[in-house]
């Protein structure tokens, strides 16, 4: 912002003194007086303390116990970059415990102490937070080692780097190789600290060492561990850090130049060292946290501290005169997303009291911001827009001076490094992730995304350099200038006064806690200490299609470059050098300096009311309409911009691009995101009607245009518009951040939780808006019941049902009589032993008695299957015992026979492999996959078609067409409705239809806990279509009489004579056999098509939401060879995930006679039993330390007896799930393995990342990945 007012020696207005420096005013680069011309944005996630502990435990296990010969190092080293295993998964029971119940003493989500260490470091709080060496008392040896290393550094030898690689190979084969190697590497690094190019070379050599280190994970880990110790020592000792930095050069500019040449790891390392080296001696103690004096020059400092510092630096300092000047003092900024503040465990009420727009985040607001089409959040880069981004801090330092700039090739390499880092692709990308993972982990952070901003400058011909953006325009001219008592703002900034003169806008428009333009103060969030002098920051990565922009201008104005520049100026409202069209509509002026009044001192309504000079729709006019609509309106919608370009130098006029995406890192702050930034972006930029103007279309430069005939722009005085304007600017990702004051950061560092001030909070507690209709299976009710059963003396909770009326005024076709059992109350049981007992219901080997009935399954399945019994609806006993035995016999005989004839399991394996391969092959180019649909549903469809012999029909059936409209039949639809679907017909209608039938079948059979009629009707319709289809398939097979049988269906046909010999009688003839067979096929196909995808959906969403790092975890699990284990590591993973987030949460049974389940628990006759797997899975008697996620014995953790898992029901009972061990488990482990090859797997940002379901059966989980390997 080259036209910011010159900084005075001190800031007189004390009220803004604690704002983070570099927000209200841009910090200048020491003696150069120039604002920072490049900067880093590091987007981080705050790690959990437990996550660090778990990782360390795993690392220990693997360094001790692995067979060095076969173990790949990669996964183990990846552990440094976040834990692949969550310490504790979010369980449904957690909330209840938080709400007043005696909470467990441990706090599994506690943020890492190390993160607070960093906060203290950058904000200058407390001297007591020392590195880990303080704890283990190893500080002395480390500093001795450092001194020794520094002493040896003088014996520099150029050739040592080249021989380094060979030395490593050699050392690896020595018994004491590790210690020597660590010393060698460190010596090498220290020796070459003053020559970052060589340092970068060492990093490259280390990158290439993959092969060597892979064979010795223990070595690699020790190496990383040792390096970590040293770094921590440096970070916690300012003098040591300073001494280290001083070795790089004599002035900040020189040091910075070398550091940039060293590449991304060196830049990050230096940035952190800079934080450490700036830490003042005698920093404030934790007792008066929040207080500081102006002498505090921590990296994150207050506005007034910066002003004092700036005043000092105005005194000429001889270069290299003291070591203190060697560290660049440019301040850093730190900001948090709402999820970040949550991760820091601030007071829940205070968190809740933030404005909705901030809590929702930018991705949720995409529609109103015009972030649609290619700008939609689902296409955003990396994890931008995801709640995993907890915050960001900006870095950057002087690098090079006018005489000695950083060579462009180093910048290019740095940008390439950052792109590899963000995309996680290639050896370089993964290595950088690992390396920076080690570094930032020391401070409890995982850096998820990095952006590098660089301001391109171009000479204006008169010896001055203009700060430009990539379309070639001067940027950042108009700012709203908060009143900091700095004297008169330059004309054109601030707001328009009554007489057309300029005044600063009220401080409260930008910073919280001050009076705004109406004289009011903010009350959100409800804690003054957190709020005061904070502000909200908008970050958007706006990619500019420079070539497309220029091409469009050329197509519109082929006659001359001058005409093209003229049209571009019309679009922008200013000429390229900043001259406003209002001031000079015909030609750009030569402006003398930044305070030249012609640059910014103009008004629209007063000087150009009709837009005859500056078009009404131009970018500058609509994004800051100045006096349009009366001064009252615009002044409430101002933002303070702090943007910076990215993507390297400007493109030459004729360039077709240099392969680097270019654009603007848009950064702006304001005090009300929804009233300020969003009004500008959503209304002024992207709508044509505002402030009394109409017909303006969208902004021609940054609007959400898409080349339609309605995307028009009318130049000044033109009759015909420019039409079909494409989108020139695409949002690649962003979010809303809260920037606390420097003082609030210090309090945060000291562990302050910012409880709400009394008063405002009460209104939220009293809100009457959120009253929901309670249901029997309400999540909160189920949680409360589960908690009562697990914590109290009760073993069950009974809930009665309300009465049903017996008559109705409405002449309903429905009968008002109901099954006698429907209204019976429900007894919920939740202890593991009780749930297990209910699910097994196995009174004894010789007993045919049964106490609990599954009659509801029978009723539901008969609905679908024309009254025939399915296996699931039968039970031992007089009613359906014989049918059950017969169905089981037919199925088992056919299955075994088919396997013998056609090698079923081998074919299954083949089908699974090829389907999954194809899915990855198909999705890899785009990096977009539906993890449920592409992996699971495709695979089970082929199994149904090729193994069971049940493909779908070759069309969408009635229900498949009608269901999106909430209808069952075509006749209920209007023809014009179908036209609105606006999507291509499905590629595989057979799969679609079969899948839909199955989903409805499952939803009604086991998911219809409410017994809702709509679902029953749907199941009846779907079932009827399904059964007719099966009839056709069977009829065709009976005509063909396939020999040998390829499918289960063929085999059933083959077995007909044999089975009729066995079961044939007066009541059981061929038709009855085929009825049985149809029922079996319905059940098999219907369940595999629905259960496997939905159960896998649960597993994979749990994996995504808890950042379970499959690419790290799966190889780790495979490394452990435990031959005596009944389950493989991956099977353990699937079972354990199903435990904490079960696919089936409550199983129902009906109790027909009093049943004594255990001492003190008798279920009375005529009641329903709700067996709560979701409670039993957290019963400590079955799963010790139940809130911990455990893959023991594969990874350290509490023991889990596999027999206690309740996936798809209890194991070993008479209702054991037929398909679990035969099919489902194998399939799910295959899916896990395949998903583990997708690196950087994540949900897309925004609504496009949500799980899709029909009646709570999961059918889709869109995801993105960086690379498959």
């Amino acid at each position: 912002m080259s036209e910011s007012p010159a900084a005075p020696a001190t800031v007189q207005d004390e009220s803004l003194s604690t704002v983070q420096a570099n927000i209200a005013r841009v910090a200048k680069q020491g003696d150069t007086r120039r604002p920072r011309d490049w900067g880093l944005h590091l987007f981080f996630r705050v790690m959990k303390e437990s996550e660090i502990a778990t990782t360390e435990a795993i690392i220990e296990t693997f360094t001790k116990g692995t067979n060095a010969k076969n173990a790949p190092d990669d996964p183990v080293l990846d552990l440094y970059n976040g834990s692949p295993v969550p310490e504790c998964l979010l369980s449904e029971l957690d909330d209840t415990e938080a709400a007043g119940q005696p909470a467990t003493t441990d706090n599994p989500d506690k943020p890492a102490d190390a993160f607070f260490r960093w906060l203290s470091l950058v904000s200058g709080v407390g001297g007591s937070h020392t590195g880990s060496e303080g704890a283990d008392g190893s500080a002395a040896p480390l500093s001795t080692l450092l001194q020794a290393l520094q002493a040896s550094a003088s014996q520099s030898d150029e050739s040592d780097i080249d021989s380094f690689g060979e030395q490593v190979e050699m050392l690896l084969n020595q018994p004491d190789g590790l210690d020597i190697l660590v010393q060698q590497i460190l010596a090498l690094i220290v020796r070459h600290l003053d020559a970052p190019e060589r340092l970068a070379h060492i990093v490259d050599v280390l990158t290439g060492l993959g092969a060597g280190l892979q064979r010795r994970p223990d070595l690699a880990l020790s190496l990383y561990g040792r390096l970590s110790d040293i770094l921590l020592h440096l970070f916690s000792n300012p003098e040591a850090a300073l001494a280290m930095v001083s070795r790089l050069g004599h002035t900040p500019a020189e040091i910075g130049r070398k550091v940039v040449a060293g590449g991304l790891p060196v830049v990050c390392l230096y940035e952190l060292l800079r934080h450490a080296a700036q830490r003042p001696n005698g920093a404030t103690s934790g007792e008066n946290e929040g207080e500081s004096d102006t002498a505090n020059t921590a990296a994150l400092r207050e506005e007034r501290q910066q002003a004092a510092l700036q005043a000092d630096s105005d005194q000429p300092v001889a270069e290299g005169s003291s070591s203190a000047t060697a560290v660049d003092t440019l301040p850093i900024n730190l900001a948090f997303t709402h999820s970040g503040l949550k991760a820091l465990q601030l007071d829940p009420m205070t968190l809740e009291s933030f404005p909705d727009v901030f809590k929702q985040g930018m991705a949720a607001r995409a529609e109103r911001l015009g972030d649609t089409g290619p700008s939609a959040p689902e296409y955003w880069e990396g994890e931008l827009g995801r709640p995993s981004i907890h915050g960001y801090f900006s870095g950057g330092f002087r690098a090079g001076s006018d005489g000695h700039p950083v060579a462009e090739r180093y910048w290019r390499r740095l940008r390439a490094d950052i792109r590899s880092y963000n995309s996680r692709t290639g050896q370089r990308g993964r290595f950088l992730r690992k390396m920076l993972g080690v570094l930032f982990r020391l401070f409890g952070m995982e850096v998820l995304h990095i952006e590098l901003g660089q301001t391109p400058y171009r000479s204006d011909g008169s010896g001055r350099e203009l700060r430009l953006e990539h379309f070639g325009f001067r940027d950042g001219i108009s700012q709203p200038f908060v009143d900091m008592k700095l004297g008169t703002p330059p004309p054109g900034g601030g707001k328009v006064g009554r007489d057309g003169t300029w005044e600063p806008i009220a401080t409260g428009e930008i910073f919280l806690g001050h009076p705004d333009e109406d004289g009011n103060r903010h009350i959100q969030p409800y804690c003054h200490d957190l709020r005061f002098n904070g502000t909200y920051l908008v970050f958007r990565k706006l990619e500019q299609d420079v070539v497309g922009f220029r091409d469009f201008l050329k197509r519109q104005r082929p006659e001359s470059k001058e005409a093209q520049d003229r049209l571009a100026a019309q679009f922008m409202g200013r000429w390229q050098n900043g001259t406003p069209l209002v001031v000079s509509p015909e030609t750009p002026l030569t402006l003398t300096d930044d305070r030249d009044p012609r640059l910014n001192d103009f008004l629209y309504r007063r000087q150009d009311p009709e837009g005859r000079k500056c078009p009404l729709g131009s970018h500058a006019r609509r994004s800051n309409p100045r006096d349009i609509g009366g001064h009252d309106s615009v002044k409430r919608h101002r933002i303070l911009r702090r943007s910076m370009s990215y993507g390297g130098p400007l493109l030459d006029d004729e360039s077709k691009g240099d392969g680097e995406p270019k654009g603007l890192l848009f950064v702006a702050v304001n005090s009300r995101l929804d009233l300020q930034f969003e009004v500008i972006q959503g209304l002024w930029i992207n709508k044509g009607e505002f402030l009394g103007q109409a017909g303006l279309g969208r902004c021609p430069v940054i609007g959400a245009n898409d080349s339609s005939t309605s995307d028009t722009f009318l130049e000044a005085n033109a009759v015909a518009p420019v039409t079909q304007i494409p989108r020139f600017v695409t949002n690649r990702g962003g979010d809303y951040f809260f920037v606390p004051s420097a003082r609030a950061v210090r309090k945060l560092a000291a562990g302050f939780k910012f409880p709400p001030d009394t008063g405002e909070a009460q209104d939220r507690i009293d809100s009457i808006g959120g009253r929901k209709t309670p249901t029997l299976f309400d999540e909160s009710r189920i949680r409360a019941i589960a908690h009562r059963i697990l914590s109290g003396p009760e073993r069950s909770v009974t809930v009665g049902l309300p009465e049903a009326p017996t008559r109705s005024d409405y002449p309903s076709p429905r009968t008002y009589s109901e099954d006698a059992r429907t209204g019976d109350g429900m007894v919920f049981v939740g202890r593991h032993a009780d749930v297990h007992r209910v699910l097994c219901d196995n009174p004894g080997p010789n007993s045919t008695d049964f106490l609990l009935s599954v009659a509801h399954y029978r009723v539901a399945s008969r609905r679908t299957s024309r009254g025939i019994d399915l296996l699931i609806g039968t039970e031992t006993g007089p009613d359906t015992g014989a049918t059950r035995q017969r169905l089981q016999d037919i199925l088992d005989t056919a299955w075994t026979r088919l396997d013998k004839q056609a090698g079923t399991y081998k074919r299954l394996k083949g089908i699974t492999e090829t389907t999954l391969d194809a899915a990855i092959y198909r999705t890899a180019p785009s990096g977009r996959i539906d993890l449920v649909r592409d992996l699971a549903t495709e695979t089970v469809y082929r199994i149904s078609a090729e193994i069971f012999g049940v493909p779908g029909p070759d069309r969408l059936t009635e229900i498949a067409v009608a269901l999106p409209f909430s209808k069952k039949h075509l006749f209920e639809l209007e023809p014009d409705w179908l036209a609105t679907l606006n999507r291509d017909p499905p590629e595989n209608p057979a799969l679609e239809t079969l899948h839909l039938w199955s989903v409805i079948f499952l939803a009604d059979l086991v998911g219809n806990l409410f017994l809702q009629d709509e679902l029953k009707e749907l199941a009846r319709t779907a079932g009827s279509e399904f059964m007719t289809h099966l009839d056709d398939l069977l009829a065709s097979a009976r005509r063909r009489q396939p020999e040998p049988a390829q499918t289960l269906l063929d085999m059933f046909v083959q077995l007909e004579p044999e089975m009729l010999r066995k079961y044939g009688c007066a009541d059981y003839a061929s038709d009855d056999y085929y009825a049985d067979v149809t029922a079996l096929l319905l059940e098999l196909s219907g369940t595999i098509m629905s259960v496997v995808p939905t159960a896998w959906g649960r597993v994979i969403t749990t994996i995504l939401d808890n950042r379970i790092g499959l690419p790290t975890l799966v190889p780790l699990l495979k490394m452990r060879k435990l031959p005596k284990e009944p389950l493989t590591g991956i099977e353990r993973l699937v079972y354990e995930i199903d435990r904490v987030n079960p696919a089936f949460r409550i199983f129902q049974r009906y109790c027909e006679t009093d049943m004594v389940v255990a001492d003190g628990l008798t279920i009375p006759r005529n009641s329903w039993v709700g067996a709560m797997a979701i409670a039993a899975n957290f019963d400590a008697s079955a799963f010790p330390d139940p809130k911990r996620f455990s893959l023991a014995p594969f990874l350290p953790g509490p023991k889990r007896d596999p027999r206690n898992y309740l996936m798809f029901g209890a194991q070993g009972g008479q209702r054991d799930c037929w398909g679990r061990d035969r099919l489902a488990l194998d399939l799910m482990t295959s899916f896990v393995e395949r998903a583990s090859r997708l690196h950087g797997l994540r949900r897309p940002a925004g609504p496009g990342g949500s799980t899709r379901d029909i009646a709570r059966v999961i059918i889709g989980q869109p995801a993105r990945f960086a690379a498959s390997g």
Partner: protein
């Protein structure tokens, strides 16, 4: 059932636009054959309509092409009994309620931990109410006649969850029911009282067609397309009237094909 017609409320109108607001009692208890209450079933039906609208898919209400805006809301006893002074509900005076009172749920349809099934005698049963508010073109009776004829089944599915609802089948009884529960609308505003829904849609379509026409005949560089008169006549011919299908029978407005 005897209705007193004398108390019926008149709908308000502005220009050609009319409002109706109906406040109907939701039935107590459980839907026979289900484990849902009538209120739960009602919310399910409304959610389903809402879901279509959010997905941008037409639903049955599109068939009534005179509707500008519609809203339905369920008001629960725990909302309207706040500050009533009844035990278990919030008090207006700060600090007057005790912790146990604020957490205690009113006696409603589901009694969470009731072990027996006997209803407590003489306990008043507070019910939820459904507010339905619609703003539409034209006359109110024409509007309800449309409903009874075009979306009878779906309409019944929703209001069957309310007391005394007789169905749309017998229009007179249906009409009486509506009027019995209609409430007075104190404020009713319309930003465009003289524009019907089809008219707005037509104007929107016209602007689109106009933009396309401009893009075809005028270039900002000054290049002109001849013969402009013929093209303009063609534009007028295509853009002024619609012979059919605007909207189509399901209520979808399909813009006319623009001749390239």
């Amino acid at each position: 059932m005897n209705h007193q017609t004398g108390n019926w409320i008149e709908s308000r109108s502005l220009g050609d636009v009319t409002e109706i607001c109906v406040m109907s009692p939701i039935r107590l208890g459980r839907v026979p054959g289900e484990r849902r209450t009538f209120e739960e079933r009602l919310r399910f039906k409304i959610d389903s309509l809402m879901g279509r609208a959010e997905d941008g898919l037409p639903n049955v209400l599109n068939r009534i092409t005179t509707i500008h805006f519609a809203r339905m809301l369920v008001i629960r006893p725990d909302q309207y009994l706040s500050y009533s002074g009844l035990p278990g509900f919030p008090h207006l005076e700060k600090g007057a309620e005790t912790a146990s009172e604020t957490t205690e749920q009113p006696k409603l349809d589901f009694d969470p931990y009731r072990t027996g099934q006997q209803p407590v005698q003489n306990q008043p049963h507070y019910r939820s109410w459904l507010f339905t508010e619609v703003i539409f073109d034209g006359d109110i009776k024409v509007y309800f006649r449309d409903i009874a004829e075009r979306i009878a089944g779906d309409f019944d599915d929703v209001f069957d969850n309310c007391e005394e609802f007789p169905g749309t089948g017998d229009f007179s009884r249906f009409w009486n029911w509506i009027r019995k529960y209609q409430i007075h609308n104190d404020l009713f505003l319309s930003a465009y009282p003289n524009l019907s829904v089809p008219r707005i849609k037509q104007l929107e379509d016209f602007k689109k067609r106009f933009d396309a026409f401009v893009a075809k005949v005028r270039s900002p560089t000054g290049r002109k397309v001849e013969p402009i008169d013929d093209l303009f006549d063609a534009f007028l011919k295509e853009s002024q009237q619609y012979a059919s299908g605007f909207p189509a029978s399901g209520g979808v407005y399909q813009p006319k094909q623009i001749t390239e």
